[in-house]
Symmetry: C3
Subunit: 667 residues, 3 copies
């Protein structure tokens, strides 16, 4: 049985909950709190996230603690059989903390320190902030360690960003000393002889800047700064979870991620978490044309979250209505909230949670959608939508803990992304690694193929086929592991812009794709960049497919040419190659193409590798099928992303889905 | 007789004048000054504004005063029967002042102090600046108090902007203490428990910043900062007019406003002024299609200036030719300057004044249009245009002091505007309150309805109908006064996004439109935001009108549904309602529409309320009719905003206007 | 014989070379250096630029020098009969220098000092930087003064930018004192009475800022700041070449310019150089439509570089493949590199040099095109392209030192450009002086007319016709010299926006075009600016040509009206005039037009003036003809900028050029 235990201890149900800030209503608590719990229960909610951003109410002055209100809330939850996802309050600090210890405020890359304000912007190095966080977290853990409502720890909130203060500079230098040992090593790896940027003292090393004010030409520096920043967040996470782990060792910890955030290496960060959770805010448009791309992006994000630990995860936030920050705050159309919620479950979530339970009356998020609006009753359309999610979740206990078990993997690597963002040449920002990865993902999604999103450090051995487009940076022993994987029978597919640089962004010598040259059996001599109005073609299998943006000029060595360029001075040169190595094969797509080519070519690759979709012979018609399994039973979620009725054939049975409908098919 | 006394004492004529900087030509004064006065008189000018930006010539070193040159200019004016609109020189400071007292320079919201430069950028808190201003203003008043040329005080110039220096922070805290009494009150009203932004010491309060550097999420803070900034300008105005009021109590004071400036509450500021004046720079395009929208915007601005005090005002600046700062410096087409000038008079101005009399030779405004160009003679086309304005103004002595006497009011409220600018949600910046208000204005303007622009604090009792679109923030007792107004027989019209927040930007609980729920007889449950390419419709009176951008989902309670949505999941729900309350009616338009709907619907509202236009049964054809009256006679200005000949019927008489022509019809 | 001696002493060949950074490969030198020299020689290269950005390897710690590696490189070059273009390393500094002497880092206009990073950003005032530069340059000169490889000095690299530090402020004030003598003079010339910006102490003068933070309204200040900045660069150039000139008096010095850089007065700067050189990076598109405009811009830049000294120059950098910084890094199509290289020679270059010889492995320029790629061998297409350039250059010894000898001049004046960039009014940034100058150039280029690009300070006497469009600022005695030039028989052509301001940006009084009013015989009364969608026409010679953007309203005085406006209120007014003065003529084009009018009108002007093109009766068909001459023989370069075959008739002979082909025709 492939099934993980439920994330919240002794609670084998799908979690249905929301962020809840009762401290904003302390003055009106008699009127509001009981009513909130009544409304939550009535909507089938079994959990609320509390304490997020509550520091100033828990410790209004330094060393003066007020847990009474939180006691009352925790008791209310327990009395009603609900769980608390209890937050550490570190995502925003009280005014007094910043006033007394200005070091807790970040400095930006221009070396200007923030004023008090906003959130998610503490210095991760600050000893004062760590100490204050340790104290409040210890107190929380001690006070609630035996409270029946305590289900899970919610550590900080949506961590991100970096700090360029002197303390962080110092830590960065220590980190580098640890990593490289000597300045000589750094000078070589970062290629600092270029423009005379060699370091002769550790103190000369400064974090990179985004503009011309400081260093932004040494790419190795920026890469290591981003790695250091991930490690800073990890270090802070460890520091603030230390008391939790000690005092409440069996209460799991999560930290809510943002799948669109590209500045942290989530694969590294997720290793620290007991369970991954994330905040999903798709901009649904209401019709098939608008919603299918949104659904694909959400699916990619969900699968990325799954891939971080290759385990079920938690949907920590989503909006029951519109958001306050998107350019157009469109309401959920009928059925949309349920479909949005079920899509998360289909892709591995064991929860549906909302931001927020009750709308705040003031400040910047007061118009963010919530279960309960300013009006305050159960009369609203939104509240009824939430109830229908609650009812559905109650039927899904069996699905809790089940897995994805994909046989195809798609590599999305944060370090490679950073390197490509920094790459000067080609199309500059239009190199667009993430966009391209999602294009490849879309092709597989439309084929209903369960795909796992992994990075270059992950084990490849359980997959039949690995897609790794634009593997510009080859980290560590990845190339070697790919070679072994192919030799042992795996299928590996990659594209142009692969095998250019190593871990520290140094170009491979003696010909691209560097250490993958043998596996791929080609030499990539030049990269042609095309203007948006220009195009070429790949001629393959009797058809001509548009190629554009980036066309590499490659020479097959041991590889066989499958397809060729159709025009320009490199017409007839290889545009698609296949290399047999040991028991496996490695394919190379030399140019950027549209989905049509990828769809046709990937079908042959999938067929050859023996990877099939959740549905057989079912071309995409607006309905997506996703599967979870415990190794025996399969839970197939059918989701209609169209606003019209659709038919779909599953295991020989024809199933009708009304507009936006979701159906669960078990087999 | 409804007629105000002339603004300039003992001078019962329309003022025709210009900003004049003779100090720039001191070295060439024998050649230039006499000639300037000759040219001015010959063009029918009876006034010149002098002393603006002259501080460095009046007090070239600290405590060293040179009034001789100004004496000479004042004498020249008096000798030629002309008046001086004499300026206090505080809109820009001498270099020595900033060098010796750096505190007079503003700090921006990033807490960086300006270098010397520009204008309109002194710190309003600076004791040094107030003291230096007091001294120079006292000297000016004492020197010229009995001078026959002194007609009026022109206080500073186009004041605007804010300052974030420590002195201003301190004053802001005092202002808050005065307003709220306690931090507890502030924490509640600003809802600072959100994100733990609670204040526990007054010193923690800092002005908001525009970027992530500091506080920008607490909307109550920003609102109060804007209110404080208006009060800072008022305080500075009072300080610098104190000596003027004491020494020359019967000389009126004005300060020239900018109708497009939205950062100060001009209704509050105008209370301080003896007469409102403003600077009008429309970008005329030369043909009907281009000029009608420009004319509407100018008309709106003129009516806004009228509404500030509900009194005649002064056109203080306008360009006799092009400007130096607009993207395209298009010349006035023949007739355009006269039409532009008469439009101001038609909307309540008792003056036509220009920036500038003579073009400066250097620095950034040297190509701004002027009565006299660098060429220096009376030979130019522009000079002749100015002469024709002069001739026309001479015939309008009777119009001086007459009023608008509108029976329809349109509410444009600065505080509501600020709140909507800050609102996160809906369409973000496309919420566009000002743009929408001007759209509603355009509909009334095209019907030739005299409309007064007021804010929520103004008395409603003299109007038959009050239009108040998007009254998102309901300030003070406004909702109560609206209710009384309707009960007593008034007609009130408002739209979607009304009644969401109170004075401090806290959302109303228990259902929008909050305290107007009874008056309007509806509950607004949700607000749907539409993408630019999407639309819905309002079905009313057998017709279908496009609705777009914002569609509110409202439930009539005591109201009657007049119109309904045509499509989407809320098809059939109320889109237009009418509520009878006492002797009056309140209408609600739930969605954003185009002018076509507003034109048709407002016609029925106007007809019902008994409000008629200046012209009867005269659909808009490019000619605008505006009226001034002394309660007995009516002065109807007919203005052809087309570049072709137009016919119009007035009181049964058919009148022909040649391209761009203006005619005055008295009845 | 009009022929200059070769720029590199005792080396009468076309130079074929590249920037070379062997210090980046010191660790691998045995493997790399010999191979590099072998590859260079084999490609026909006879020169390499070394030492650029090598400071940190020459002086890794203060006072600790390491020339051994450079000795070895110089010896290698000499052994292989190659020359070194030896660089001073000042374009980037070692980390230790910035750490120890922070004053060497620039301050930006916001008065924020840079961190270490980037390049081309040292303070030109810093005594520490000058001293360190003097020491390293002296050591270089002493060490290599007798080295047979030393061919030329390459001083710094692509100098540009300004510094706003206190030392520079101080130098600026001294420079102003020197220029103006007194603050009174400055106050008058900068017209500072405007907005009370008068200076009463030298210390009050601060450099201008780009935003509202400081002074940006006093145009005379910004103009003088730009002039001062040019002089700062000259001063620094003189300081760092002083030891070179003393120790190696017969080794010529150059500094590589950037023809698109508009912030320095290159005419002034070039006076310091022994030979002009520049870095040419056109974005070729591959087809006729795309490449002709690129070719024209490159030709203009080449001719500008020629015009700086009216002497042959050096192509110092160009890419053998794509660049790393352009938005789209398109590869050279076959034949393109040779054509690009020959175009430089055709326009006066005595060299073809590349950036770079070998691609660096890391940092931001690692993907900039190079002779040798990361792959490292001679197998690449790019390497073969370089070889073909080498072969061609070997056949062109005779061309070395030959001149352009144009009879037509086109004025492009940096000071006028600065003044127009600052001009507030008209179309703001769309005034676009440089763009317009290049449009006029294009018309002459398509007629194959050899044109020299000069500024207002240059001698006019050798030209038959001088084109000076948009001579808004008339500097020094330029107007007087134009008058004399025309009187003596010259033809002068100018346009709208001429003769508005003097050297210090003060407007001419008594009518534009100021001191050219007599020469042109007109008075320009007003300037009408048109919106992009509007247009007028010039009616001339029985045809109607589109006029747009800027239309001046001029009155002929002694001039004759040749053409008139076709519409709007100034229809029938003069749009094209001719004034006879002495033996010459002066033409005035009052409006902005398209190329069609300029082509037709300029043809009559050229015919009248007796200026003919390189080819007779050969309308432009994609092939450009450029000529160099020694006064006896003419070297006509025919360059096909199309990707199709073209025919062209030269001296009666029909010549066929294949796509992108270049042919040399000698006569």
């Amino acid at each position: 049985m492939k099934r993980y235990p439920p994330a919240i201890r002794a609670f084998p149900h799908m979690i249905h909950g929301a962020d809840y800030n009762p401290e904003q209503w302390l003055k009106w608590k008699d009127e509001i709190w009981q009513e909130d719990i009544r409304l939550a229960k009535q909507a089938g909610m079994n959990s609320l996230s509390v304490g997020i951003f509550a520091w100033s109410m828990l410790e209004p002055e330094e060393g003066e603690f007020h847990f009474e209100w939180l006691d009352e809330v925790m008791d209310l939850l327990a009395e009603n059989g609900m769980k608390a996802v209890l937050a550490t309050p570190t995502a925003a600090r009280p005014n007094w903390l910043a006033e007394k210890y200005p070091e807790v405020l970040r400095m930006n890359d221009q070396r200007v320190r923030n004023l008090f304000g906003g959130r998610h912007n503490h210095c991760m190095s600050s000893p004062a902030y760590r100490e204050k966080a340790r104290i409040i977290n210890t107190k929380l853990a001690e006070r609630y360690k035996d409270h029946p409502a305590l289900g899970m720890w919610h550590v900080s909130n949506e961590v991100s960003g970096d700090c360029h203060c002197p303390l962080c500079q110092q830590n960065f230098r220590l980190w580098l000393k640890e990593k490289y040992g000597s300045l000589d090593a750094i000078n070589e790896k970062w290629w600092t002889t270029f423009w005379s940027h060699r370091y002769t003292k550790w103190e000369q090393i400064e974090s990179p800047t985004r503009n011309w004010m400081g260093e932004r030409d040494v790419h190795g520096l920026r890469l290591d700064w981003l790695r250091f920043t991930t490690d800073q967040h990890i270090s802070f996470y460890r520091a603030e979870t230390a008391p939790l782990k000690e005092i409440t060792p069996d209460v799991p910890c999560t930290a809510n991620l943002m799948a669109d955030c590209e500045e942290l290496d989530y694969y590294a960060y997720a290793k620290e978490l007991d369970i991954v959770s994330w905040d999903n805010y798709p901009c649904w448009r209401g019709d098939e044309k608008g919603d299918v791309p949104i659904a694909i992006h959400a699916a990619f994000c969900h699968d990325l979250m799954y891939g971080l630990k290759r385990k079920p995860w938690f949907l920590m936030e989503s909006s029951p209505s519109c958001t306050n920050w998107q350019p157009v705050a469109k309401l959920h159309r009928p059925g949309n909230l349920l479909r949005q919620s079920m899509q998360a479950v289909a892709h591995g979530s064991d929860s549906v949670q909302y931001f927020q339970f009750r709308k705040s009356r003031g400040s910047s998020e007061k118009f963010h959608g919530a279960v309960v609006s300013h009006e305050g009753t159960e009369k609203t359309r939104v509240y009824k939508d939430v109830c229908s999610v609650g009812e559905t979740l109650k039927t899904l206990d069996d699905v809790v803990g089940t897995v994805k078990d994909g046989k195809a993997a798609l590599i999305f690597d944060y370090h490679n992304n950073w390197a490509l963002q920094d790459m000067r040449g080609a199309l500059q920002e239009r190199t667009a690694y993430r966009t391209e990865i999602e294009k490849h993902y879309a092709v597989l999604w439309k084929k209903h193929v369960p795909v796992e999103i992994i990075d270059q450090t992950c084990d490849l051995s359980t997959y039949k086929v690995v897609f790794a487009p634009m593997s510009y940076m080859l980290r560590g022993d990845f190339a070697k592991r790919v070679e072994a994987y192919v030799e042992q029978g795996g299928t590996f597919v990659t594209t142009y812009l692969t095998g250019y640089v190593d871990d520290t962004d140094l170009c491979f010598r003696h010909g691209f794709p560097g250490p993958l040259r043998k596996t791929l059996g080609i030499w990539a001599e030049e990269l042609d960049s095309l203007y948006p109005e220009d195009e070429n073609s790949i001629e393959w299998n009797g058809q001509s497919y548009r190629a554009h943006s980036l066309c590499e000029l490659v020479h097959p060595e041991t590889a066989k040419m499958l397809g060729q360029y159709g025009s320009d001075f490199y017409a007839g040169m290889a545009a698609l190659t296949e290399n047999v190595l040991g028991k496996g094969k490695a394919y190379y797509i030399a140019a950027r193409t549209d989905e049509d080519f990828l769809s046709d070519f990937y079908q042959t690759v999938l067929d050859e590798s023996g990877v099939s979709g959740v549905l057989k012979d079912q071309p995409f018609n607006g309905v997506s099928a996703q599967r979870r399994t415990d190794g025996e039973r399969e839970y197939v979620f059918l989701m209609n992303f169209a606003d019209t009725e659709k038919q779909i054939t599953v295991d020989g049975e024809s199933i009708t889905l009304s507009p936006r409908e979701v159906k669960l098919h078990t087999r």
